[in-house]
């Protein structure tokens, strides 16, 4: 079966060990996770996770159901890529000297990215966008030499007025 990227969003109790439970599940069942991003959400004491998983529809459905079985996981939904906004943030420290600096700055400009730190031999670039945008910028900057890269992983939210994690219907 064809494997594609799927985005799951989970609302979980903000308790010690929750991340561990989820990570343990991915490892044990051999699920292929591309990224996980965690942070607070609009409800106090709950965290929101965005999980990008690679697999066939059946595998992803298993991931969703297995996650849902974790008691500390309140709700999990798959977000349909077309109906969602996806963003990732990356920090890229790229080698730079007096001759390359302006060229790098031009590229950064085109991508509407920001330079957030400068040193004698480097520039640190902050870029936000979907993965493709970050990948393309990264590819262009590679020519100058990358010293360091940090990416947050995908955040996703349904378009329109409704909550991405609408209460699931009874299955």
């Amino acid at each position: 079966m064809a494997t594609t990227q799927h985005t799951l969003v989970a609302l979980v109790e903000d308790k010690p060990g929750v991340l561990n439970r989820m990570a343990s599940l991915f490892r044990r069942r051999g699920f292929n996770i591309d990224s996980i991003a965690v942070g607070h959400c609009e409800v106090p004491h709950l965290s929101r996770m965005t999980i990008v998983v690679n697999g066939s529809t059946t595998v992803v459905e298993q991931v969703r159901k297995q996650l849902d079985k974790i008691i500390d996981v309140i709700r999990v939904s798959e977000i349909n890529a077309e109906d969602a906004v996806n963003r990732e943030l990356a920090l890229i420290k790229v080698k730079a000297n007096s001759t390359t600096r302006s060229e790098i700055m031009q590229i950064v400009d085109i991508f509407r990215a920001n330079i957030i730190d400068v040193s004698a031999d480097s520039l640190t670039v902050e870029v936000t966008g979907d993965e493709d945008k970050i990948d393309s910028l990264y590819d262009l900057l590679r020519a100058f030499g990358i010293k360091e890269l940090a990416r947050t992983g995908r955040l996703a939210m349904a378009r329109g007025g409704s909550n991405s994690l609408r209460p699931e219907k009874e299955s």
Binding site: R21, L25, T58, Q62, D68, I71, D72, I74, E170, S171
Partner: protein, 569 residues
Amino acid sequence: MKMTGGQIICESLQKEGVDVIFGILGGAILPLYDTLPQYPKLHHVLTRHEQGAAHAAEGYARATGKVGVCFATSGPGATNLVTGIANAYLDSSPMVAITGQVARPFIGKDAFQEVDITGITLPITKHNYLVLEAGSLAKTVKEAFYLARTGRPGPVLIDVPKDVFVEETEFHYPTKIDLPGYKPTLKGHPSQIKKAAKLINEAKHPLIIAGRGVIISGAYAELKQLAETAQIPVVTTLLGISCFSENHILSFGMLGMHGMAHANMAVNAADLVIAVGMRFDDRATSRVSGFAPNARIIHIDIDPAEIGKNVRVDVPIVGDVKVVLNELNKLITPAQHVDWFKQLDDWRKEHPSTEIRDSGKLLPQFVVRQIYEATGGEATVVTGVGQNQMWAAQYYCYNKPNTLISSGGLGTMGFGLPAAIGAKIGSPNTPVWCIDGDGSFQMNIQELATAAQERAAVKIAILNNGFLGMVRQWQELFYEKRYVATPLSGPDFVKVAEAYGISAIRVKRTEEVVPAIERAIAEPGPFLIDFVVEPEENVYPMVAPGAALHEIIEAPVKEVAMWQRRSTP
């Protein structure tokens, strides 16, 4: 009223209706044990190994339907529970394990007897807790019992630091459960049930595969009604055995690796499989791609994650088996499947799977059959793992609900004796027979002391073949008879039993079998029979690993049948 953490746990256990606890104490859990005398209604059974405590708690749980409880101290006490917890997890048995932990200031310091038991048991518990203040103990115990017994049951572990047992706080037992992430679905979706009913009403060769979910939800009557109304033959998984009377004309026995030939052939030929409270374990399905190739599949299970996990399903119904069947039965029209039954009966005649050949030697199958005859099927049978387990499944006829307790998912050797003790303590008026192998029995043989101390009247039948028999069988069939590390030179089990204060006899000849069993039954306390059986007897039928379910290896020698499991209708 102010209470210590230990008292709060005991109070909470009583509120949950606990009357027996299996366990072994140690430094970290000592303060909890110290409060036990204040709660005489909580009977503590001292096992001789924590694995025994966990299995006994599970045996108790499975015999009674209540939550089994075990205690262990930190470190090695807790790790010794692990196999028992995993066993309960894979067989969906309700259990609460309470472990002592090092005192809060020592956590994370690799203190004496500190292990991260919540980390270790994370993938083998339904949920677990490390309780860091006495104030949350009552709520935690309440939640743990609720989680253990509801939905798909399972083990829950509560790890309690030593100083939390002595911390004082107000005790209020919560009346409500607040678990926003846990809402088991009980009622099946009406439109799915309608679809299922349509398929059932239209099927020509329908087959029910019933599993342990039927027993857990107590859906015996509902299953029977479905089978009888629509005239559907019923086969069961190993753990489904006794969910449907094996005497019933619609019963076609167990399927799977050592299932009845006709049961496996039925799966192969069925045009509709109604899977009820079972999870398509590979020992039941054999090669998945060859499973029920002609059938549409209806899958009823309380755990949504089981749907579509191993096999494709046409009509999934998530819900409690009893509730779903009840709704489904309203939509079922009476039917007859005369040709289908004729076919099944022909297969049963042509491929008798439970004949016992006339060999003059003491055959394990004969022993099991005689235990059935002598107990009239009234006993609860608890097994070890291996050939003994399969023979116990095949040659005892389970007519009464919930009469087989066996380690299915984990296949834990050593489960038999402690689980039998737990079952006996939980149901003192039911005869309990532990049918075990000489290898399995030795894995928790120390629990003879527990049986003796508790006067738990378990009747132990060791099918002593001098081998790790099931593995020897694989070596014989798939490794050119290289019997590496399977011969066992067991101890003298009669002397061992007697040393523990348990009466025992050895049986070597066929004619001694019945008198020995009768003596065991007459004995008021525990009793052990060492049946020295034919050493290289194999379990048949067998589906080789990787084969499709209908590719059955049958017993090579067909001698005269001594006894037929049931007269063919």
